[in-house]
Symmetry: C2
Subunit: 335 residues, 2 copies
């Protein structure tokens, strides 16, 4: 079921979705009770750390497993696994972790648009600390990602995909807000739609005004969970958020965990129930998988109701298995 | 339950078990039916490949997961997790995969005796191809391991542990047979026992005479599965092997999968049943875990019958979980 795209062939086909995000390798390890307290981390949080702190945290961690990660990168990988034609812009260094990241993307047929950096900081890694209850706390060192620059975003590297997908975390990069703006401008010129995944509610709080500006001008599709949309709209409940959305023309795809998802565009509102689950194996990556399914429907011109069902279908698949990525053939039993 | 050994402290305690083996990072990926045929690999086999072939195989593989591996390295990690004081001699390069390997060992309190190589081939990796039925086929590029030399084995790097553990795969290295002999000689001078894990039956066939010589002189304990002991003794059944063992004075710990294990030393013979299993999750690493448990008992002067039970206990733990390594606290319910 794996598909191989010889480079030449691949470039001749129109890209449907191009992701711009932080290219990260996850370093996953189980931790003992007390570890989070010891390092002063809030359970379930994601914080950015510098290189020195990264060495310190890693030195305290037990034996780990490494795998390609990053939120929008996971969505792009999932989208490609569904059969979508995907491309990716993110910065890794020409080191072994960078090689692993690019290998994993390319093996899914994703067209990598940037060369790895020859120098500068190493490929980013996120230390994913798994508590005994399965909760994940992330300490992320952005490394080479911080070198992603305005100059990397050009008509040549972007092309004219049906849609581009940005993640909120890009705003954490030194040139993040500017490169995101440039991507939105090029997309507007080329007729590409722009989707923005809000990443996490703390990220929204860090960059609320800039996100708000992007949503007002440049972003067509907003993908968010309940906390993120509330943070963006400065509301305290999902119902308040729904009211506040009346002032927007964008397409909002909002996930609500067990409460399913809600799609809003202007006056149109679609409520999609979650699939009832008797046993949840691992909710990691459910949001990224939802985005992959939803956008796969969207770029293929499916009705919004079907996009929502595709998102839910993919999220459910991921929740039922261990590990956060969609496997090839995931849609074989979708109807 | 994780134990941290500040370096200073750690060095003051007597090492119980020192492993000498190939330091390898596993690159694990699921493969489609047909993949093995495409690359001409025998299902379930382990073959050695060169760097060019490694790039080729990796380029054909889907997204992968990376984790520290290597047979005797897994035994040493498991031994440390049981609470044993372990040290390790193996060669990695000073690259990211080498850093991962050393980190994972050190995080378990294992005392790493060699510095990573500054140049030469990269850290070894084994491409572990997992078929839909769970079977694993390995294509291993030895890289930096091939630089392990006679000069690395000295009274200073070995010290005087209660036992050293060699793996058969070391004989595949250019200076392997010589460095193994030197290790056995230093061990004999220092009163360290020498254990040899026979690795796999094809490895035994590659080096049978040299193994036979080592078992005659230098090796005290032989750890093997049924195929390996038959290959060493050139017998065609386990019963034949038991007869052939009458000529030896070594301690033989032999695993027989569902048939349990048999310990033979001179006239003493202990038959240890396997723990009946209603569901096998993953047999990967069961043999390495058996060695860890058996040797943990042995270095702690436990009776052979208890060593066998410890080995079985650890192997059963590993079979019941996904992934091949013993977790900390594994012995909490041993009795």
């Amino acid at each position: 079921m794996r598909r191989f795209w010889p480079d030449g062939n691949r470039m001749n086909q129109a890209t449907q979705l191009l992701g711009i995000s932080n290219a990260i390798v996850d370093i996953l390890a189980h931790i003992d009770d007390g570890f989070l307290e010891q390092i002063g981390a809030v359970p379930g949080s994601m914080v950015l750390i510098d290189e020195e702190r990264a060495h310190e945290i890693y030195g305290m961690m037990g034996p780990a497993t490494e795998m390609s990660g990053g939120s929008v990168a996971n969505t792009i990988a999932g989208f490609a696994n569904l059969g979508g034609l995907a491309a990716y812009i993110g910065r890794v260094k020409a080191d072994q972790l960078g090689g692993i990241f690019n290998h994993d993307m390319r093996s899914l047929g994703v067209d990598i648009r940037l060369q790895p950096s020859a120098d500068g900081p190493p490929t980013a890694r996120s230390h994913v600390l798994i508590s005994s209850n399965g909760q994940r706390t992330m300490q992320t060192y952005l490394g080479a990602c911080t070198e992603l620059s305005v100059g990397d975003i050009t008509p040549a590297t972007l092309g004219a995909p049906k849609a581009i997908l940005l993640e909120g975390y890009v705003w954490d990069l030194p040139e993040g807000p500017q490169l995101a703006r440039k991507a939105m401008d090029i997309a507007a010129e080329n007729g590409s739609a722009v989707a923005l995944s809000l990443s996490d509610s703390f990220c929204v709080e860090r960059h609320r005004e800039s996100f708000e500006e992007a949503v007002q001008q440049g972003v067509d599709i907003v993908v968010a969970d309940e906390d993120e949309i509330n943070a963006l709209l400065e509301t305290s409940s999902f119902d308040e958020s729904l009211d506040a959305l009346r002032g927007y023309n964008n397409l909002f795809a909002m996930t609500r965990s067990a409460k399913g998802s809600v799609i809003v565009q202007g006056d149109e509102k679609i409520v999609q129930d979650a699939t009832p689950l008797t046993s949840i194996v691992d909710t990691t990556g459910a949001g990224d998988a939802y985005s992959a399914g939803f956008l796969y429907g969207w770029v293929n011109d499916r009705p919004l109701e079907e996009c929502a069902r595709l998102g839910t279908f993919c999220a459910t698949k991921v929740i039922r298995q261990i590990g956060g990525r969609i496997e090839p053939g995931a849609l074989d039993d979708f109807r």
